[in-house]
Symmetry: D2
Subunit: 368 residues, 4 copies
């Protein structure tokens, strides 16, 4: 259980880090969306390791193949099957992890949940490698959202360790600005400071965490369902399902709790084109769980990478105290590679709610 | 769509603030759990208005009736239907809201989502009154979790406005300590300061927000599903579905991003009874999305109440600029009443994952 | 589990035969559908007991109340809560069933499934009284389907015991014709023979079964999803979930297996208005699991009523052999009252697939 | 939508007849089940074409690969990904079907549903080739059910055209007896007559339909959920989702409607070992939608194969009248190959309900 997300635009991922392949099946994508492997590869290339000196040099390649659901260049409405071969698998390198629980990894909890049955090679199913599959699926959602609704999703690195960048202009930030620096913070000075924080941690055989910010522009008013499936509830779920994510906030979020209502509320005003907008956007584009037409803005906190290179205390599979010393290739900071994963979380959630609202309203005319 | 939560322990709520009644249907509760209306009323009484000078004096009563699913004092496995009559409804008092969008409320987004079809009386379906239904359903989950697994969930007010309480001892905090002060912060000095902050806001015709902390003790290792249905992902979703909630963090959360991996990781050690524990709990009891046997700890941020009593700019249903001045009974701070709602979010999520893990493992013996 | 049906138009029923009430929650009905209690009562009155000398004289009344989801006469998109009080409950009359399993009823299987926890009063949750809730929900679907798509669903009694009526003209059969005879077969001669078969069974303290036929007219081409959620698969599920239903067939069904392909295939031809029709309809309006624009036609087999008034051998709750002699009010034949229940099964299934197709296509233009 | 089935044991299939591959993802299979590709291949080999002179000579091979979810020979609880390459694809052979709707196939309905976007090569997604994926998934369910509950599922051909075999002994019928004749009817004389009926149809360039019977032995009492998810409702859905299936009946089914209640009821009696059994099994092992411990027995009707080799009238994609003459390799009768597909439908349904009942009861002791 748990490898699927979405009700109408529904994605199921499968695969282990060191099995033959990983993949995703995307159900519910409407017909008629132009889609190629190249569309997906762009996003995958932003997630894959080895992009810069900041990230692990493991060469995964991450070449995605569409095996079903696309015919003559467009989606057919049938399930879209995406498959990525694991080309750099070296299971032998993980033999020492067979009977040992790495601290703050999922080794112990998988062992308990599945009564000892787990693929311990490089994290197996719990490896962040799984996120390649959801990034590929998110790229399908990106195409759908862009084609049908003109929605655009951009994420960036907002904080690394204790280095926080300046407020990003959510109306303007774009992929080019984000990718201008390897650390994926669009502000040059902050990017430099973040890079130094990562390098310092690497020198100390240590790791750092951070925060990814994200905006979705072009989301029309009316997406999101009341009560339990609020748009920010589903965004939070999608984001907290990313490995190492430990926090989510929408709009002013945790910072907003110190404000008074009269300072926090977003006043409505006519937008000059017959519509309505808010003068501020502390709600992050979502009110009562439903989009209000303003940019949807949220942030995701990532804990420092669990795999550092200092000695750690732990126990083995028999519950006996032991120590653990990591080896191999590991990112000291996942934030740059996490940005496309956060985008995918937003894209999958929005695509699902776009279809849900289409089911709700169909061609019903506007009331105003 | 959107009024149901859970896959196996599944709750659907219904009802508008000023309709004849609200309610919840709880599907999937196993048979044989002793359950009475009094069990549910305890939790409802902690959520209802009028408990103290800090909260609105509206008398909702919130008497819950079990109309199905319980026979001769125990659950039967059939859907449990819970119904709460709306006794203090006074729809006329809301006539002035018919054609006006209150800032930072759901009036506008519901109007857009449903093309003008909405019950505008006191928020209708978007009213926080709906949370009474989920608190009642959460009380069913509380009984199930206590009886079958010995799980206990306690929430408290951690912050009001900019007044943050001292760190709570999650191993010991109990309902009695939380309820010792009307503001539901277990620390006397902080409770006093929080109360003053609320009173100050009320005097200023304004409102405040805050943070609720929550712990679940007794959760065994192995609850939560990998990938998308991680325990903290589902907790985040349940919490962000609470009206006015804008942030969620698990364990060290947003604070943890400033730590290095070597400081953040939780070392495993033998627990002296044949099991395993961690020496710290920055993971908040969840690793790889699955409980590790330590207390599950998280926090939820609530924005300041949207209804304050100062004049506000907004638009009417035709999109024309206008002003809005709230009247009637409204809490200047929802935090005290939000604690049982956060508990309900945790209880519903945990009950669902308890049954999911039972489906996964059945009577499979431990591997260690 | 198991008390909900539908993915987008989703209905959950609750309640026991002799509890205070039964009901249904309808999620996902779009906003703007005119709906009143009278709309629902029409269908409920066709299902309730005591309509004619052919059916039990128990006076259930079955007055339905809408408690949520409708405001100022139209649906709002919020869950519609329907509640029917049990007014004729007489639990004492069932005391003798507490520790005894009636043959071919659900007493034994519920006892086993729920480890002895069950409401044994009049069948409790397994009573056919539950179908009142789904008929009420089906009436909501009927309004939605009629208003938005012009779909019309009519069921009739096709066979009672071994009396089979002549082939019904599925293009013309209407409720008035069906209700012209108490047995709900639109053919006068067959209705008379069926009535006599029922009376003969009653005189013999016995019961009979039969077959209900059903047609949905106006279903556009394109409803139903490929592979597992084929339209006839979902219709079959909905119909087989009706108490006493033991068979389902679509189009030529079981009779069609004796035909050759060249006799069974439905040739396509232009319909003279720019569209396509089939010259015959052995497919029952469904091909590859998707509606083709022709009338959707199917039949449902009902076993003879399990409660007859002859002595029966059975066992008690301790597994000891005993005998059982039914008493009280029971239909010798459920077929007349089953017709609105079969209609409800079709209506709920079609409403769900209507919304699914709307999510799939939205306003996408026709390709031809 | 529509390519997934099951709530806890959940299968999603993907792939087109002439794409690079087809496959299935199996979610929710518990850990610790010994599973190899050979286990799956056995069932696939019974479904593949070219097994006998009776079936098409197309060589699909149908070699299945497990790409995830199995580690060191046992399931891990992670999604099991199954992939079957399409080795005999010859898309060019179908060019003449691009703009034409074959009668009683899914060409027209897919065209309407997806606004002209469809893979027309050999039926694409609507091809019965998809059933290879569900047979592979069903083989996983078979292993789980056998290992944990000792459940055994056997299907056979009960009727071909108008040749009906004698009643099969459901307590004894086994795969060896079924496979003793190529037509998969365990009765030698009937098998011979069926074979002749198929050969006669082939000689006439025509096709035939038939009926598959199926039994599940060892199903304990208590599987199946009340109300909508009755065991026979879910079995009916799974079976009606098989291409060409047009009818389903459980126990006495359509035949039973002619019986009186006193003849149809199954009396309970002590089984001599402390349990309970019924003296007859007209209920087909299911009462009130829940298994009663007797063999679960049902039948599925298949229409004659739509592709015969006589000239047919139809329309093209522009709605103009035309004719169609099939060519290529096609079975005159799918019944022999349908038996493993019906078994898969039963296996998937039963595995799901097995886990559902485990979630419901866990280790709760028997009440008797």
């Amino acid at each position: 259980m748990g490898s699927s997300i979405g009700r109408l635009f529904r994605v199921t991922t499968w695969g282990e880090s060191h099995g033959p392949a990983i993949g995703a099946v995307v159900e519910g994508c409407p017909p008629g969306v132009a889609l190629s492997e190249a569309d997906l590869q762009v996003d995958l290339d932003r997630r894959r390791p080895g992009q810069s000196a900041l990230t692990t040099q493991r060469k995964e390649g991450d070449l995605v193949r569409i095996e079903a659901g696309v015919f003559e260049g467009t989606t057919t409405g049938a399930p879209i099957s995406l498959r990525i071969e694991n080309r750099d698998a070296n299971p032998g390198a993980y033999e020492h992890l067979r009977d040992l629980f790495r601290p703050s990894h999922a080794d112990f909890t998988y062992h308990e949940k599945y009564r000892g049955h787990r693929d311990w090679r490089g994290g197996g199913r719990s490896s962040a490698r799984e996120t390649a599959a959801r990034v590929a699926a998110g790229a399908v959602a990106r195409k759908l959202l862009a084609d049908r609704w003109g929605v655009e999703v951009v994420a960036w690195v907002d904080q690394v360790a204790d280095v926080r960048g300046p407020d990003v202009d959510v109306a303007a930030v774009c992929r080019a600005a984000v990718d201008a620096h390897a650390v994926r913070c669009p502000d040059a000075a902050a990017a430099q400071a973040m890079t130094e924080a990562i390098e310092a941690a690497r020198r100390d055989k240590d790791t750092v965490g951070g925060i990814v910010g994200c905006v979705a522009r072009g989301v029309p008013a009316g997406w999101g369902d009341p009560v339990f499936d609020k748009l920010e509830a589903d965004l939070a779920k999608a984001c907290l399902s990313i490995p190492a994510a430990k926090g989510f906030e929408s709009g002013a979020g945790f910072q907003g709790v110190g404000l008074r209502g009269s300072d926090h509320n977003d006043a409505f005003e006519p937008d000059g084109e017959g519509g309505v907008r808010t003068t501020t956007n502390r709600s992050g584009g979502i009110q009562g769980g439903i989009s209000n037409g303003m940019p949807v803005v949220f942030r995701v906190a990532f804990k420092p990478v669990a795999t550092h290179f200092q000695m750690q205390h732990t126990v083995d599979a028999k519950g006996r105290a032991t120590t653990f010393q990591a080896r191999g290739r590991h990112d000291p900071c996942v934030l740059p590679r996490a940005t496309p994963v956060v985008e995918a979380a937003a894209l999958l959630t929005l695509a699902d709610h776009a279809l849900r609202q289409r089911a709700n309203l169909g061609g019903m005319p506007r009331s105003r």
